[in-house]
């Protein structure tokens, strides 16, 4: 596990004909590392997440995930790479309202054969893997599983989203403001659960938030505003 999970070198992103939105000289996320990236609105956060997801490509510089240069992959290969190796947790309303809790968690295994294989290897079946994660996140009460996801509390929904990001043990979990809808006590509890499960799954965690109160819980904390040499005027975030 010597390869860094994320490695950025002289990464520049700009829309054609415009000044750069993002310009990062160097950034590395090591395997198993938990990094807090402080990113207020306008710091280029959305752009960075788009690049890490392989949805956008850099204008220049290099973006490597697990040693793979994303720019060298075709669009559909980048999509598959993302599905295989990263899990996402968003701010809120992360779940598809028309699927059950278990189905929501299993979604990545539907689109990634690799993660399905890993889940089955570790737990016997995708459903067993989902139940295992739910139990560890304190959501194993039968009545909760039967409920429509829209009837869950926001905290419960975020834990389901975390389980979905972690199923099939992706190397990278990207969390984009997952706690901003939670109250202060729930935030720390959620983070602690997330840390334990990331460790169990062997996933590195890139946690993006504008809320600096949480940075002390991480291995390392960085500010995207300082990291980004471009000065975006805060357009789209």
């Amino acid at each position: 596990m010597s390869l860094p999970v994320i490695q950025l070198e002289n990464l520049v992103f700009a829309w054609p004909g415009q000044s750069p939105l993002l310009d990062i000289e160097h950034f590395t996320l090591a395997a198993g590392e938990r990094v807090f990236l402080k990113g207020p609105s306008g710091s280029g956060k959305t752009t960075l997440l788009g690049l890490l997801g392989g949805v956008q490509l850099p204008a220049s510089g290099r973006i490597q995930l697990l040693g793979q240069d994303l720019a060298r992959l075709s669009g559909s290969r980048r999509d598959r790479f993302r599905a295989d190796h990263s899990g996402y947790i968003f701010q809120m309303f992360n779940l598809l309202p028309y699927l059950s809790v278990l189905e929501n968690i299993s979604l990545p295994c539907r689109f990634s054969a690799l993660r399905r294989r890993r889940a089955i290897q570790r737990h016997g079946s995708v459903e067993a893997a989902a139940r295992h994660l739910l139990a560890h996140l304190g959501l194993d009460r039968q009545e909760l599983l039967r409920r429509a996801v829209t009837e869950l509390s926001i905290g419960q929904q975020q834990r389901v989203a975390a389980a979905r990001a972690l199923i099939g043990s992706p190397e990278l979990v990207i969390a984009d403001e997952p706690t901003s809808a939670l109250d202060a006590d729930a935030r720390e509890a959620f983070l602690n659960l997330l840390f334990v499960e990331c460790q169990a799954a062997g996933s590195s965690l890139l946690f993006v938030s504008h809320d600096g109160a949480l940075e002390r819980l991480f291995d390392r904390s960085l500010s995207l505003s300082e990291l980004n040499r471009a000065t975006p005027d805060g357009g789209l975030d």
Binding site: V55, Q56, D79
Partner: protein, 420 residues
């Protein structure tokens, strides 16, 4: 496979608007298939009104007009043909049988037709089906009448019932032949043709009704001739309305037609029933095509409704798309998902529409039969219906590719960021 499941679940989540869309498509398909069904059955029943007759002969007029009044009992003959002309034609060496037809009287709105007893032997309808008696037999006495199935059923007539014929063909007549009532001697089986609504009497019986008439008015006082007195009189008609001919061989048709069209004593014409039916149908064909086009547009309206529903849902579903993208769905998955959705809606609409069509048909079948004499059989969809349904599904997929493409573009632009 999983995408199909996702598409269904997503639709189910929006079940109210999905149901309305399905319903709109279903109703439009019911209309289209119903119109098609009635159209083809009406055409078949229409074409089956007369068969086995090689030529229809009448005074010179339009061939469609001759067909209409001699076979469909619609409209009025503008002139008559002389009895001796009919006899000469009947004696033509190639003519196997000749049926005289004399129209002009009615009974409670049903047309009365004078003919010969041979009519029941030679007249054919549908695929060479002869007339059959449900009860009784052909007319033998001067004042006997044979009723079509509808006349007997609707008026409650049985064998031996007496009926008074009226002069003229209106449903309400002020001049009745009350002095010479007719007695029902036979009732025909249902045929699904105008025969069902006709009262058949002998030419002599019809002549007896009018034997004492002068200048279109009944005689008065001493000049009146009673029913019994009429029996002793010469009752050969001086003219008839038209005649149906059967020839000894189909091959002779054109030769006999030419002979009749060149008939020296009287201007007559002979038409081939098939040709006249074709001509009549081509007249009705315009209305028929219009009906078809209207129902096709109704189906298109249903599909456009679906397009609108999907397109307007796209914006509120950007989050759904972004979530799917984040768990690994590729843009082409998003495209397929929306295409499947359109296909699913159209398929559900088609299934429901076909079901509704058959339900309606099942309910309306007896009503259509009793009101219009049109029997519409409940049969499995034929190749034409299947190709219509296939065309509709194809159109739905083509239309569905519009929102699918939009969602595809949108998901490329939005990527993983959730925008609402």
């Amino acid at each position: 496979m999983y995408l199909l499941r996702l598409a269904l679940r997503s639709l189910l989540n929006r079940r109210f608007s999905a149901l309305l869309t399905v319903l709109a498509i279903a109703l439009s398909i019911t209309l289209l298939l119903g119109v098609e069904k009635i159209r083809t059955e009406a055409r078949a029943s229409f074409a089956g009104t007369i068969s086995g007759t090689d030529l229809i002969v009448g005074p010179r007029t339009g061939s469609v007009q001759l067909l209409l009044y001699s076979v469909f009992r619609i409209g009025h003959p503008s002139a008559n043909m002389r009895w001796d002309s009919f006899q000469r034609i009947a004696d033509h060496p190639r003519v196997a049988w000749a049926l005289p037809i004399s129209l002009g009287d009615s009974h409670r709105g049903y047309k009365v037709m004078g003919t010969s007893a041979d009519y029941f032997l030679h007249y054919r309808h549908g695929r060479d089906r002869a007339l059959a008696f449900a009860e009784g037999k052909a007319f033998a006495d001067l004042y006997d009448a044979v009723l079509g199935a509808d006349v007997a059923r609707e008026q409650g007539y049985v064998l031996g019932s007496e009926l008074v014929l009226a002069h003229g063909t209106g449903s309400v007549s002020f001049v009745e032949h009350a002095d010479k009532p007719f007695r029902v001697s036979g009732i025909l089986e249902k045929t699904g043709t105008p025969v069902d609504r006709t009262i058949h009497v002998s030419l002599q019986g019809l002549e007896a009704l009018h034997v004492d008439w002068r200048q279109g008015m009944p005689a008065r006082g001493a000049a009146r001739i009673s029913a019994e007195q009429a029996r002793d009189m010469a009752l050969t008609p001086s003219s008839i309305t038209a005649a149906l001919l059967g020839l000894d061989s189909r091959v002779a048709t054109f030769a006999v037609q030419r002979d009749i069209n060149r008939f020296p004593d009287e201007p007559l014409m002979a038409v081939l029933p098939g040709v006249a039916l074709q001509e009549l149908w081509s007249l009705l064909g315009v209305a028929e095509k219009a009906l078809f086009i209207v129902s096709v547009f109704v189906v298109l309206t249903g599909l456009v409704g679906m397009l609108t529903a999907i397109l307007s849902s796209l914006n509120e579903r950007r989050r759904e798309m972004a979530i799917l993208r984040s768990v690994g769905a590729r843009p082409r998955h998003i495209f397929s998902l929306l295409l499947l959705e359109a296909f699913g809606l159209a398929l559900a609409g088609a299934l429901l529409g076909v079901g509704l069509m058959y339900l309606t048909l099942w309910l309306a079948q007896p009503l259509i039969l009793s009101h219009y004499g049109l029997f519409i059989p409940i049969t499995a969809p034929g190749p034409w219906e299947w190709s219509l349904l296939g065309g509709i599904l194809l159109a739905a997929v083509l239309m569905g590719s519009v929102p699918a493409w939009r969602a595809y573009r949108q998901s490329l632009i939005d990527g993983l960021s959730i925008r609402t």
